[in-house]
Symmetry: C2
Subunit: 463 residues, 2 copies
Amino acid sequence: MVAYNISSSFADTLRHRRQKLAQLIDFPVILWSGSNSPRNFKANTYTFRASSHFLYFAGLPLPNAAIRLEAGKLELFIDDPEPGSALWHGETPKRAEIAEKIGADVARTLSELKHRGSNAASIPVQNYRTSLVQSQVLHRDIASPSDLAGLDLELAKAIVTLRLTHDAGALAELRKAAAVSVAAHKAGMVATPKAKQEAEVRAAMEGVIIAQNMTTSYNSIVTVHGEVLHNEAYHHPLQSGDLLLADVGAETEMGWAADITRTWPVSGKFSATQRDIYDVVLAAHDACIAKIRPGVEYGDIHLLAATTIAEGLVDLGILQGKPEDLVEIDAHALFFPHGIGHLLGLDVHDMEDLGDLAGYEDGRKRSDRFGFSYLRLNRPLHPGMLVTIEPGFYQVPAILNDPQNRAKYQNVLNWERLSQFADVRGIRIEDDVLVTSDGSEVLTAALPNDANTVENLVTNVSN
Amino acid sequence: MVAYNISSSFADTLRHRRQKLAQLIDFPVILWSGSNSPRNFKANTYTFRASSHFLYFAGLPLPNAAIRLEAGKLELFIDDPEPGSALWHGETPKRAEIAEKIGADVARTLSELKHRGSNAASIPVQNYRTSLVQSQVLHRDIASPSDLAGLDLELAKAIVTLRLTHDAGALAELRKAAAVSVAAHKAGMVATPKAKQEAEVRAAMEGVIIAQNMTTSYNSIVTVHGEVLHNEAYHHPLQSGDLLLADVGAETEMGWAADITRTWPVSGKFSATQRDIYDVVLAAHDACIAKIRPGVEYGDIHLLAATTIAEGLVDLGILQGKPEDLVEIDAHALFFPHGIGHLLGLDVHDMEDLGDLAGYEDGRKRSDRFGFSYLRLNRPLHPGMLVTIEPGFYQVPAILNDPQNRAKYQNVLNWERLSQFADVRGIRIEDDVLVTSDGSEVLTAALPNDANTVENLVTNVSN
């Protein structure tokens, strides 16, 4: 285990979190960290990621650990390293040292947890083997987040309440993740002129993250095919007319995430059509961020993005009609099929392991409308929430070639005009925005997004 | 899924492998690829790695797939992408296209596998969810590699027989992995003078691998604390008197691995004591490689390393006595506690998922001797085998401060002399060596390992 770089207020932050939890629920809670997932054989594992709920209250990414929370008290359950471990892994912190770091009230071996499970609530873990242990200790199966009921559901709702509002400890980590992600994107722009394939730009970006002892918070998207929303291939050659879309974010050692997308021209110069669309997406981005303040509905932010994009496309002659009417029939979603953003915190889609429990206000459900069904967040905003704002424009063949869509939108979509924008496959601009008491703060603002400055970042260094 | 860069002989290679399997066993075989392992939530997964046995016969890293092999025929079981998939993942190859690429005789949906499991043998998968499917299809539990019996054990032995000897298709991939790993190590040396912490050197090395669209074949070790054998921390500052030990290898898209270690001085200049020990390790490395040829026992290679290291330490006045006698009492293992190497192929410890079935010749068991118990390979060598040769010298506190060791070795270890080598915490030199019909070929030979050239690689670029 790593010698973590812990601030002096670390244990206080954790204590404060569990005290707040104790104000919301009056039953014991057990949270597991998970264990290493084997890759191709047992000793060759994926890089361990602790459960986010565990991280929120225990702070450290400890494999094979659990915590029990009750009335503001923290019990840590973890085994000391095995006797032979020092040869392979060096001297690692003992249970008592870890307990002290995180301010645990008691520290016990894992086996002592066996008799502490009755009446405790918990949250399903991702790691399958850990879920078996969890069932044994709790004497019941809570393997599926969609089945949460009773105390587990109460716990999940309480955790959502806490994690929706980032405290100072969380924000310090989130700012670190944002800063490194900004540096990664700049490095990606700088690396583009000499890169021959997408993978080289990805390497430049992830190199910055690795060099800071962080990981990526999700599988990077670095592609000239931005129209494939979750593209995880990096083998395409970079050609001078291409736009490169990079959706890359860092995660701190303690698990806090950033999530940034920029789109830049491989040549360092947007074509006129690329710049036209880019500016439409940027206008939506800016309008959404300008609107963020406490009390505003995030769903309205999405609607604003949709309307602004529709408006821009009308101005360009691609869509025809009144923007509001176009949004009414989901015409914006032909080009902007996903949501305007999501919660961000320990998870890049924060608390998505709980389904829509965090993203959707109690009593709300996903819309089945084409233009709204992918919206991951539908709540009024409040100070301390961190959200992404990520409008985009994509020419997705699966959408634009769909016969039903072609029929439905034949009167509002000017295909001939659209064909002039063939060099725009996908554009997205994404920043991480903290809701503050009087508006918002863009944590990723240090990364430029206006077309001219982006061009300069790409080209200046190629000279 | 990626559009794989497949050579024209790809399907022939796979056909040849299953035909050879059919010469060894006469029952049907089902192998699963595994599925994505969730990281912190279901949609945020670790980068998928297919099971190595699946990869050997099916060639492509397809998630959620299975193959059935019988009498040299290949049936592929995989579902076509779901209808909504194109939006998020783009157009991905259909079952029929994949079947054609890999030369499958038949292609079916996954559900059709349900009734094809009786009498089939298989190998346990690492992915836990897949192991549940496996049990359902086979109507039995084969979750543990140590429990293999009957047809499963026969299958495992047949696969070991095949995978122990690399064919031309495998060697082409292994050479690619080796070449990229060599480039990564050179980049690491070059990056060292400007790096402030280990993570920066790691970033330079892994950046080379990512830029080539490859992954690391194991979690990199890049550390100034080489005495911690499996050090996965990268936060230590680089100080001018330090040695940096880097054990980093690339894995090709199709899953074939390389495994290289170099140790270099952070300052670009070995101290006299560092160079003395470095040359002892290098002498062992060179002696072992010189001895590799068909028919030689790998255990004897390990013994040669132990003896050469003991001899070198006697020459330096650290150990006292005859090298052979010192090895007899495991005195070499005070400083060289691990084995001289292991098999290399689709896994960095090839087929270690099968325990010692691949590493140890039938009927042989691990020694319980301190100096031999960590030896992962104990077989006579034959052409087409790929092994690592990785002698090392470490001052491991857990070993050297052990009271039993101090008592046992008090007459052969000169503590005062050893204390003069305090600036040597850990050195390892590792290359990947192919056994050929008339000797050996070092696949990683393009990476220098003599002290002078290593120094030049580090310093030339700092000037």
